[in-house]
């Protein structure tokens, strides 16, 4: 194997794939990146056996070949070299990396030990705007659980119908739903649960622009855009039935400017994590109080319909829900202090966020 490539390309690609490298893996080869040079391309593969990532970058090939080297080290080298061009050559279990001034020699690992990338051929969604997908992931994935006792809740449930894609995640205390409508796809309805942690990689690709495709293999799902491919193992199990949770009737409606209420929550939650919201006429009062610490309070303008209410939320959950609304004005829809509340934009209902209050 012998080639020359742009240092910046190598650096960027390695940075992308190193996210699938687990630092804690007991299998040594998984700390490595599998480089495959064929034609005028390098393919970089990494995996932690849950997620498999692949990046492709152009190069000038003198000799084709395959090699596995430590990812972390190669990335540090690519980041710190001074020249614009990097030359790499495989010589007797060593990979030589050099620019005009520096020269490195890295021990390689056995190529045949590196797991093969699983196949995923059946298209689930041929084409979807990457930015749209990224926004949707950002809106939903944070609501997924981090508790490994219920693996299903660590994932985002993606359900597909003829013309829509629906994403849901919940950690038992709040639930976020995002619907993406008007997309072109063929094939039947589908449901799959994708680990939220892996899905959150997608927004990091968004700067590239373009389209994203979703494909399916045996228990695996492949996301593909431009030079980047990510293969994720689906979470087995059944996602809980959440549709009955979303309240359809609301006796109390509050319409408020998004940025006003975000500021109020951030300020009041400085004192305590539980924030109490009180509606009164055309204002809402945000309060927090912590024994032995102190209290905070802020009043803001809002349009309130229905009876007055005093309801307590976890400030972090509330903030997540509100800041993900893509509009200037939001609805907070409630019934009773111990019943779930619904947060959504005033104009669009493609994003909905249900939050359970705190009982006091």
């Amino acid at each position: 194997m012998k080639l020359t490539c742009m240092r910046e390309d190598l650096n960027n690609s390695l940075q992308m794939v190193q996210r699938a490298v687990s630092s804690k893996s007991i299998i040594p080869v998984l700390s490595g990146v599998y480089m495959e040079v064929s034609g005028e391309e390098i393919n970089l593969h990494t995996t932690d056996l849950e997620v498999y990532m692949k990046e492709t970058l152009p190069c000038k090939t003198e000799e084709e070949g395959k090699v596995v080297v430590n990812t972390r080290l190669l990335l540090d080298i690519a980041r710190n070299l001074q020249g614009d061009l990097v030359r790499m050559e495989y010589l007797e279990n060593q990979l030589q990396i050099e620019d005009e001034r520096s020269k490195f020699s890295l021990r390689t690992m056995a190529v045949e030990d590196f797991p093969k990338m699983p196949e995923g051929k059946r298209a689930v969604v041929e084409e979807l705007d990457l930015e749209l997908m990224s926004t949707a992931v950002n809106q939903v994935a944070k609501a997924a659980s981090k508790d490994d006792k219920r693996p299903v809740l660590q994932g985002v449930n993606i359900s597909l119908t003829e013309d829509s894609l629906n994403m849901v995640a919940t950690d038992s205390y709040r639930l976020a739903v995002r619907e993406v409508k008007g997309m072109s796809r063929s094939g039947e309805s589908k449901e799959m649960i994708i680990p939220a942690r892996a899905l959150q990689e997608i927004p990091k690709w968004a700067s590239k622009g373009g389209k994203i495709g979703i494909f399916e293999g045996e228990g695996q799902v492949r996301f593909e855009t431009g030079n980047t491919v990510m293969m994720v193992r689906e979470i087995e199990g059944k996602f809980p039935n959440w549709s009955q949770l979303i309240p359809t009737q609301h006796t109390i409606k509050v319409k408020v400017k998004k940025n006003d209420i975000i500021g109020a929550i951030k300020r009041t939650s400085l004192v305590g994590t539980a924030v109490k919201m009180e509606t009164k006429g055309d204002t809402i009062l945000m309060k927090s109080e912590m024994a032995d610490v102190g209290s905070a309070e802020e009043e803001l303008e809002a349009e309130c319909e229905g009876e007055e209410i005093k309801i307590v939320f976890n400030s972090e959950f509330l903030l997540d829900g509100i800041s993900n609304v893509g509009e200037e004005e939001i609805w907070i829809l409630m019934n009773e202090p111990e019943k779930p509340a619904l947060i959504r934009g005033v104009d669009m209902d493609d994003y909905r966020y249900v939050i359970m209050p705190i009982r006091q």
Partner: protein
């Protein structure tokens, strides 16, 4: 009980090292004499004048377990708190052994705290039988006579209203006050002025210093420090190299200095866990029976938690195999709860795991469940989606609680507990 150990020093370390308060303070330490035993002797005249031992035990006839408090009569025989009941019996076979009735003592403590609050709002409930009072604003600076008067009055009030005696220490800070109250017991009243500290305490062994336990004693001895005076004359640097931040605190303590304020400990914070256990006659290794017993115990524990308004999140399973010492396993849940199901399910999975390990060499003779890491129900609890979608357990529990409140414990019981035993009825909750 009342074991002022390093934990307190460590907790208060930053406070202790804080800048010294401006004015000279006046702190009172109140320590109830043989508290549990004294309460029992007050309530039942037949216990008076005889060796009485109050035990923490799970057995019906006070065979196992440890001594919680020994009355002064029992202390003559060498019985001390923390000793095993078995050892205490061998020291004084004719002593009277009774179960500790913690709710009763807590009730007394609450009354005591209310009494103390009538003297000063700045009090710290340090343990079930110890209270610190900050009298600085009640007394003119340096006027210790006035402080002694207040102390005498307080002791008189405690005798009148609670029928109990207490040992009181007065000093310029918590440390000195606490050490002063130890000097004279029972029914003592001791004042240690700041200038008297070194004269009184320097010749004493270093483990008399509050915060120095058996292990710290060994470490200090290895440095050649035997008496409090030795510690006070050891350079701070030597102590700091050996003990880190603790070194500085130790040195300050040896000089009778302590800058920690009298905090506002509440009587409610003294409740640390709720638990029940049951001895199984002849033992059992039948997993169904054991888990059924656990269910009954859990019902009783959670009922008490709801009654007293607590939520908890750590489930502890206690097992005793044959005649060995018992051991415990615990699991901490993500959410606080006071409902039987989550607690039972976790206790049962702990039990199943232990059973599957196959390390029990004999039958299980005692099984118990307790819930710790408590918080008050009014502090609030994050509701979950699933309990909203399926509120059946909560509703059922509420209905059962109403029934118990109206008709008494055990009027209804789980079908699975019928025939074996009805634990909810066996463990009446004291009002």
């Amino acid at each position: 009980m009342g074991n002022f150990s390093m934990r307190c020093l460590q907790k208060a370390s930053d406070q202790m090292l804080a800048s010294p308060p401006r004015a000279e303070r006046c702190v009172l330490h109140l320590d109830m004499d043989a508290y549990f035993a004294a309460v029992e002797q007050r309530d039942l005249p037949i216990y008076r004048g005889i060796p009485l031992v109050v035990c923490h035990t799970s057995s019906d006839f006070c065979i196992h377990g440890v001594v919680a408090t020994a009355s002064y009569e029992a202390r003559h025989w060498g019985i001390k708190a923390g000793m095993s009941v078995w050892e205490a019996r061998s020291l004084c076979p004719h002593a009277h052994f009774i179960h500790a009735n913690i709710p009763k003592y807590l009730y007394n403590t609450r009354r005591l705290v209310r009494l103390c609050e009538s003297y000063t709002p700045k009090i710290e409930v340090f343990s079930i039988d110890e209270v610190f009072l900050d009298l600085t604003s009640q007394v003119k600076p340096g006027d210790w006579k006035q402080a002694l008067q207040i102390a005498r009055h307080l002791k008189e009030k405690i005798r009148e209203e609670l029928g109990l005696t207490a040992s009181v220490g007065l000093g310029p800070n918590k440390l000195v006050a606490k050490m002063a109250s130890e000097l004279q017991k029972p029914d003592g009243l001791t004042l240690v002025r700041p200038e008297e500290f070194s004269a009184i305490f320097s010749p004493m062994p270093v483990n008399k210093l509050v915060g120095v336990g058996p292990r710290m004693l060994l470490r200090l001895r290895s440095l050649g420090i035997e008496r409090i005076g030795d510690l006070a004359s050891t350079p701070v640097k030597v102590l700091e190299r050996r003990f880190g931040i603790l070194g500085k605190i130790l040195r300050l303590a040896a000089e009778g200095k302590d800058y920690s304020p009298v905090g506002e400990g509440r009587a409610e914070d003294l409740v640390k866990s709720f638990g029940h256990s049951l001895s199984l006659r002849g033992g059992s290794d039948d997993l169904d029976l054991l888990s059924n017993t656990l269910l009954g115990l859990t019902d009783a524990v959670t009922r008490r938690m709801r009654r007293e308004g607590y939520l908890g999140r750590t489930v502890n399973l206690r097992l005793r195999v044959g005649y060995s010492r018992g051991y415990a396993r615990s699991i901490t849940l993500k959410e606080y709860t006071c409902l039987p199901r989550p607690i039972f399910e976790n206790a049962r999975s702990l039990l199943e795991r232990e059973a599957s390990l196959g390390v029990w060499e004999d039958k299980i003779t005692t099984i118990g469940v307790s819930v710790s890491q408590l918080k008050r129900a009014e502090e609030g609890r994050q509701l979950s989606i699933w309990e909203y979608l399926d509120p059946r357990e909560e509703k059922l529990t509420r209905v059962l609680d109403d029934l118990y409140n109206k008709y008494g414990e055990g009027v209804v019981t789980r079908a699975s507990l019928l025939g074996s035993f009805s634990l909810s009825g066996m463990n009446p909750v004291l009002p």
